[in-house]
């Protein structure tokens, strides 16, 4: 069945996943539904301890069984040890047919690939998958169809009850014996625990995994003891050097700086750039450089950012400290500067994944964004973006908050170099649609910018800002003129993953990769 971005979603996939095809970014606006609820075991006896001595004991006490769903957060990023230690124990217990419901998975989790191959893990739901897990899924090794959702989409899945978590394992930098969890004060601090909040609320059993047990009360807690069943102390929950790295050195890549300059010049020419504006940006070189350039204009014109949203890195923290930003509203910390600020600065505030981006609550922060600055692997002439599959069709990336913020923001800007290596980043049709073009307003490349024709108001700003202005088709033609028009990526027939739109419909599928056949 053809969906609203022109992708053919096979009937058997709709049947197997119980989902509808994507019908537009605002299709479910006003939908009424009843939220799911966890099964809770009461804790009346004050003498009962929540402490367990091992992950194994936690699994046994939680009634771990074949076919269960376990969940994890990704606040420890590439320094995470929790997923691997839990999955190893599940494997050692001989359990099979496990579903992993993660907020994201990365290269740190390469060691669990053998558990996919031996049937321990048969289903994966994640914002995306980098590294060997992505390769395994793309190679067709996972039994069931993988689900790739956005950060907001994950929360919605859980709150709607489409996914029911049996046991949530929540890595916590500090925990007390009662299960009050904080992202700071320990040896593996991660700043916030935003994405774990929904797991704590909706999982039947919640196990806190910490390497720093502190005296009660560990408050103010990001995750409250009222939602935690067990607390497990382990030697290490992660590698602090990879959880919170030093701040990235600002890029000196002139191509990225040029894109950042174009982005900033455009932002500053729009009517949304006024005192109190609300802004989100990523942590790529061009995004950070845009923030630095924008700060210069903010100082010059005496314009302050009311709120900076989303994943936070040091450059945004410095602007908060300088008084150029009113509040940082944080869901993830990318470096040590952000982690420390989240802990210490009262204007740096942790929010939950639902507050951030869930499309089906009563109003998320993303809906208030004036600007979001995003990256993409590919953008097509319909403004659809791909952030998941690479030029070979392999799953190598994650949706993150891409479609959530794109839908919410008044002005969604995607920065991409015109070419990614030898592949055109601006093309006729992206390999995989992760973010619908109806939510993408402006594409910024080092050659110039293109404005979505659906936004004539932004076209006016683009004409004023002095940046070379093209149609998206012209940008594509410039890319094709340099590297030629690529043949589409060839896939095998089998669908190995769905790209779930933030509202739960299917926006695209990812098929098994195969060797390129030159005879076709």
């Amino acid at each position: 069945m053809i969906n609203a971005v022109g992708r053919d979603i096979p009937e058997e996939v709709l049947k197997a996943t119980g989902r509808e095809v994507f019908q537009g970014a605002f299709y479910y606006d006003n939908k009424e539904y009843t939220k799911a609820a966890p099964t809770v075991r009461a804790n009346i006896d004050p003498k009962r301890s929540k402490l367990v001595s091992s992950i194994r004991e936690a699994l046994e006490k939680c009634g771990a069984h074949d076919g269960m769903t376990v969940s994890f957060h990704h606040h420890f990023r590439e320094g995470d040890y929790v997923v691997n230690m839990v999955m190893e124990e599940i494997h050692n217990m001989g359990l099979k047919d496990i579903c992993i419901c993660a907020s994201s998975l990365g290269k740190a989790h390469d060691p669990i690939v053998p558990y996919i191959e031996d049937g321990t893990i048969t289903k994966i739901m994640s914002s995306g998958v980098r590294g060997k897990i992505g390769e395994a899924i793309s190679a067709g090794k996972l039994r069931d169809i993988a689900v790739m959702y956005s950060h907001g989409g994950r929360v919605r899945n859980i709150e709607e009850g489409r996914v029911h978590i049996d046991i949530a394992f929540i890595g916590a930098p500090t925990a007390d014996e009662c299960g009050n969890l904080r992202p700071s004060g320990g040896k593996s601090n991660c700043g916030v625990l935003s994405y774990a909040y929904v797991d704590a609320q909706y999982a039947d059993k919640v196990v806190a995994v910490t390497d720093c047990l502190v005296p009660f009360p560990n408050i103010p807690a990001s995750i409250s003891m009222v939602n935690v069943d067990y607390v497990c102390k382990v030697d290490a929950i992660g590698n602090p050097d990879k959880i919170a790295t030093g701040a990235a050195k600002p890029t000196t890549d002139q191509r990225k700086l040029l894109m950042a300059q174009y982005c900033t010049d455009f932002v500053a020419a729009t009517p949304y750039f006024k005192d109190g504006f609300i802004y989100q940006t990523g942590v790529g070189g061009a995004s950070i450089a845009s923030t630095i350039y924008l700060a210069d204009i903010m100082r010059e014109r005496n314009i302050h950012m009311g709120l900076g949203l989303g994943g936070i890195a040091t450059p945004m923290v410095r602007l908060l400290e300088e008084g150029l930003i009113g509040k940082l509203v944080d869901t993830q910390d990318f470096d040590l500067g952000a982690v420390e600020s989240a802990e210490q600065n009262p204007n740096h505030i942790e929010i939950t994944g639902s507050e951030y981006a869930n499309p089906m609550n009563k109003g998320a922060y993303v809906n208030q964004l004036d600007f979001v600055i995003l990256a993409a692997l590919e953008v097509d002439t319909h403004f659809n973006c791909n952030v998941i599959t690479d030029s070979t069709g392999m799953i190598t990336g994650a949706q993150g908050g891409h479609p959530d913020t794109a839908t919410g923001a008044k002005c969604t800007i995607v920065i991409t170099p015109l070419l990614q290596g030898r592949s055109p980043a601006v093309c006729t049709d992206v390999t995989t649609v992760t973010t619908p073009g109806e939510t993408v307003d402006v594409v910024v490349t080092e050659y110039g910018i293109a404005v979505n024709p659906s936004r004539p108001d932004l076209m006016e700003a683009a004409k004023r800002c002095g940046v070379p202005l093209y149609t998206i088709e012209q940008l594509r033609d410039m890319a094709y003129a340099i590297v030629g028009k690529p043949d589409p990526v060839q896939f095998a027939d089998r669908v190995v993953g769905i790209v779930e739109s933030r509202d739960g419909t299917i926006i695209d599928v990812v098929r098994q990769i195969k060797e390129f056949d030159f005879s076709n």
Partner: protein, 301 residues
């Protein structure tokens, strides 16, 4: 011969290695006035032919959006330069830069080869311009004869690295070692009516030093500077582009001189400064530079 581009705006001339197609595919996005596609020192000895192929393809296929395409060929003491010249002319390069130029005869030798290539590839005779890089004491001392050597010659450029070696010193960062060459070259170039370009500044992390040096050579009278990285472009353009204040003053000078001349007045003041006919050409030049740089839309030139 009066080539229309002989005296075009050349504030920035950015070196790019022809051995690296990714570098030469789109330097126009950074908006330099000229690019210098290098076949000489940046290209490994066993990659000269590959670099030539890459250059030829670039000259023929890439739209550089009005950015001037200069090619630095290999020296006359190498086996490469004749083929370099053929490729430049066949591809339609705007200017050929002759490295290690020591005398007028060097220019004549290249000019002969260029003319032959223009005939061979059916290019208009005289369409390929030349510039000379002075890299030795001998070359600097011969600057005037070099500047006057050919109608095709747009100007001379100082190559500081080789020149200081010949001078038996090194680049100090103060500019003292280049003083003599810079002065001689700009004086000779102006006497001959050609342009004069300064050497590269290699420390990319010292942007303040780069700005100071650019301001100095601008004050000395140079037309532009060779550069090695796009990040140097905005600085050079800023220094070499008249400010709005300069433009307004130049406009007043031109208007007043025109008016006063008609009234039979020779000397007068503009904004408190004494002005006479001697200021006319300078003011006109400011406006021409401003117009070429796209910051002046008036009708006084």
């Amino acid at each position: 011969m009066n080539h229309p581009n002989k005296k075009r705006l050349r504030r920035s001339m950015m070196f790019l290695n022809c051995q690296k197609p990714a570098l030469i595919k789109d330097p126009y996005i950074y908006k330099p006035d000229s690019i210098m596609l290098d076949l000489e020192d940046a290209v490994a000895e066993n990659q000269k032919d590959a670099a030539r192929f890459s250059l030829f393809h670039a000259l023929r296929e890439i739209d550089y959006h009005g950015v001037e395409r200069v090619v630095r060929i290999n020296g006359l003491d190498t086996p490469h330069w004749r083929e370099d010249v053929r490729v430049c002319v066949a591809g339609g390069a705007d200017v050929i830069r002759i490295p290690k130029c020591t005398c007028a005869n060097d220019v004549h030798v290249v000019e002969g080869a260029v003319l032959k290539a223009e005939e061979e590839f059916g290019r208009e005779k005289g369409s390929t311009l030349l510039m000379a890089a002075l890299e030795s004491c001998y070359g600097v001392l011969n600057c005037l004869e070099i500047c006057k050597s050919s109608d095709r010659l747009i100007g001379v450029a100082l190559s500081g690295g080789d020149y200081t070696k010949d001078l038996q010193t090194h680049i100090t960062g103060t500019g003292v070692e280049l003083n003599g060459a810079r002065q001689m070259m700009i004086i000779a170039a102006r006497a001959a009516g050609v342009q004069c370009f300064d050497t590269v500044f290699t420390n990319l992390d010292d942007m303040e030093g780069f700005r100071r040096e650019t301001e100095m050579i601008h004050s000395m009278g140079f037309d532009g500077k060779s550069i090695i990285n796009p990040r140097q472009i905005p600085v050079v353009h800023q220094v070499f582009t008249p400010t709005q204040k300069d433009i307004i003053f130049a406009e007043k000078v031109v208007r007043e001189i025109d008016t006063k001349k008609a009234q039979g007045i020779g000397v007068f003041t503009v904004d408190g400064k004494m002005i006479d006919i001697a200021f006319y050409d300078g003011a006109k030049r400011t406006l021409m530079l401003a117009k070429a740089a796209g910051v002046y839309g008036g009708d006084l030139i």
